[in-house]
Subunit: 213 residues, 2 copies
């Protein structure tokens, strides 16, 4: 009966077995895409290669995504969410305890933990490296993977401005770069070690400039 159901699902209403099978395929595709981009690099990763490694037909992938960039972006987003969830704070929520320094430090500590997790580190380096030389992909990575986090920083910094904890003339979109860019450069370009102590220091140095006097 289960076989019959999933072979002929009601239109627009897949049977539970079909949903489960789809979810399994989706996860196999994500895993295959991330593994391939690490092993052979972005330019040589193909939809065919992902399909073969995931054990699904090419058409299954094209049904859900329009390009390899799309598959990878979603695979990566899913991974980042998993890794963020494990590291602590909920993704897409920026803590607001009223103490700006403490809140930004907590978020940056979770980011450091994520960067030190090889499951996140290795595929995100492969994607970031391609984004450096492939401007279109780079801009998609920013829009789809980074922008949601940047928006959260902007929101938290605006709240800090309203609470009188940050100078009103500061542009939050630029201010947030004092928190994320030094860490990103150390991580991506190997310019220095990263640790909770380091990001705490960034916050303290930056806030002395950002807080009103």
């Amino acid at each position: 009966m289960a076989v019959q159901k999933s072979a002929q699902p009601a239109p627009g209403k897949p049977a539970p077995d079909s949903t489960r099978r789809s979810e399994k395929s989706r996860r196999a595709i994500y895993d295959a895409a991330l593994a391939l981009v690490v092993e052979v690099g972005y330019p040589k990763t193909t939809i065919e290669g992902i399909a073969a490694r995931a054990g699904v037909g090419k058409q299954t992938i094209y049904r859900w995504w329009s390009s390899k960039a799309d598959v990878l972006m979603e695979a990566f987003l899913d991974l980042a969410e998993q890794s963020m969830r494990e590291a602590g704070p909920e993704p897409y929520v920026f803590p607001d305890t009223g103490d700006l320094a403490a809140d930004v430090k907590a978020v940056l500590r979770a980011t450091v933990d994520q960067m030190c997790d090889p499951r996140f580190d290795v595929p995100s380096r492969a994607l970031a490296a391609e984004g450096v030389v492939n401007e279109q992909l780079g801009r998609e990575l920013v829009a789809k993977l980074m922008q949601p986090s940047l928006d959260l920083y902007v929101g938290r910094l605006r709240a800090a401005q309203e609470a009188g904890q940050m100078r009103p003339e500061i542009d939050p979109r630029i201010a947030l770069e004092f928190f994320i860019s030094p860490l990103a450069q150390r991580w991506l370009q190997h310019t220095g070690p990263i640790s909770h102590e380091y990001t705490d220091t960034l916050v303290d140095y930056a806030l002395h400039g950002l807080a009103p006097r």
Copy 2:
């Protein structure tokens, strides 16, 4: 006579023609190395490929450099020096007029101009992208290409501390990241536009945190 001279130079004292020829080969090798890393990427750039494109023998390259990373690093260093010289300030000299904000702004404006020069931008992206995923190369890029600039920033910031323009408890090696990392991230990861106005803003925001109160 010129031919005879360069065919049998005095030991350890090459004739002028030989020196000129060496200089010409060296430049052809630099150009070939930079062009190849842009066209085929770092992994596929080989000493053989560089030699063929430069019109020299493989042994000529091995006489001067021990690896393709060495050739590329020197080619890039030479390019960065040329580009810096054209942009204004002498490379390896950080201005010290006594006005920290003005000095850092001048250096960053020259860096922006360099980043906007395609001769510098394209090969340095190719090298930086490889440094992201190839930790050994990444660390060499930092040690050979970035460290001299970082040392100049540290020196200028120490002078500012001695002049009472920066809080004494600040670590200059971390402080300099407020100047260079946001710009580096916008440039490498396409996270935002870069301009003189932007880097001036970074300096103003950062110094309000770094200056003593």
